[in-house]
């Protein structure tokens, strides 16, 4: 089982990149949702 660690590393790192990328999208989405809620609540009050 030569190079098992390399193959393993490649898959883990590859999946890791996708996972981290997905996390950044999720994080940005949740930040935006909070911002959107804040804006929406401030809008009717101003009217």
């Amino acid at each position: 089982m030569k190079n098992l660690d390399s193959v393993f590393a490649a898959y883990v790192v590859g999946w890791g990149v996708f996972f981290v990328f997905y996390l950044t999208i999720a994080k940005r989405t949740s930040n935006l949702r909070a911002e959107l809620d804040r804006l929406k609540s401030s809008l009717p009050r101003a009217k």
Binding site: K2, S6, A10, Y11, G14, R33, L36, S42, L43, A46
Partner: protein, 225 residues
């Protein structure tokens, strides 16, 4: 919303299945052995990444033509997801190269062209951060994206013909190149899995960009009052 969850679940299942196939179904490669199993992940990611950049290019063209924000959202999503995939390609490539060639990095044609491609789309995203006004940003980045995409075959040709000659691509590489049929089907399955994952990520990123635009719009409205 629920559609995207289903798509995400399908993508994850497919990617896991592809990994299973790569490890347990595909036969062992004679000269390279186990390390060759990176191939299914590495090349499939590369294909999915190129498809994502193609989506970006499509978005760019359609934006210039139709001037609909939707297409700009598609373009930025394609660029970012494509960048994630090429990052994976650029990381897994050296991991494969190290045991096989004995070095991490070589200025090989495909490696180098992928790196230039990666740089071009980094510049694309960088340009987007440096233009404030949304319509202007969409238009300028679309035009740069079109130039960048046109450059890709030229980069590839230049590096391939004038820098060191390297092994022919194994898939669709013309005569004499060929894979064992099981390897081939495992590879195409991996490519499919990666494409579904890519489409899922693009859909997520697209939804984010759409929401960003709505938030910006609302923020302006609040400010105006």
């Amino acid at each position: 919303m629920s559609k995207r969850i289903i798509l995400g679940a399908v993508a994850i299942l497919l990617v896991i299945a592809a990994a299973y196939a790569a490890f347990f179904i595909a036969p062992e490669e004679r000269t390279m052995g186990l390390i060759q199993r990176i191939f299914y992940f590495h090349v499939a990611s590369a294909w999915a990444g190129f498809s994502a950049f193609f989506l970006c290019f499509l978005g760019n063209l359609l934006y210039v033509w139709r001037r609909d924000q939707k297409y700009d959202w598609l373009a930025v999503s394609g660029a970012e997801v494509g960048l994630a995939f090429t990052t994976v390609v650029l990381i897994t490539g050296p991991i494969w190269a190290h045991p096989v060639w004995g070095i991490w990095w070589t200025w090989d044609a495909r490696l180098t062209s992928t790196f230039v491609l990666w740089l071009l789309y980094v510049s694309y995203l960088l340009l987007r951060t440096l233009v404030e006004e949304p319509d202007r940003r969409a238009l300028l980045s679309s035009l740069f994206g079109i130039f960048a995409f046109l450059d890709v075959p030229l980069v590839f040709g230049a590096i391939r013909w004038w820098r060191t000659q390297h092994p022919q691509p194994v898939i669709m590489g013309g005569q004499g190149s060929g894979l064992d049929p099981t390897m081939k089907s495992v590879f195409f399955f991996s490519a499919l899995a990666m494409h579904v994952l890519m489409i899922f990520l693009v859909a997520e990123r697209y939804a984010l960009e759409k929401m960003q635009t709505e938030t910006d719009f609302l923020a302006r409205e609040v400010e105006a009052q």
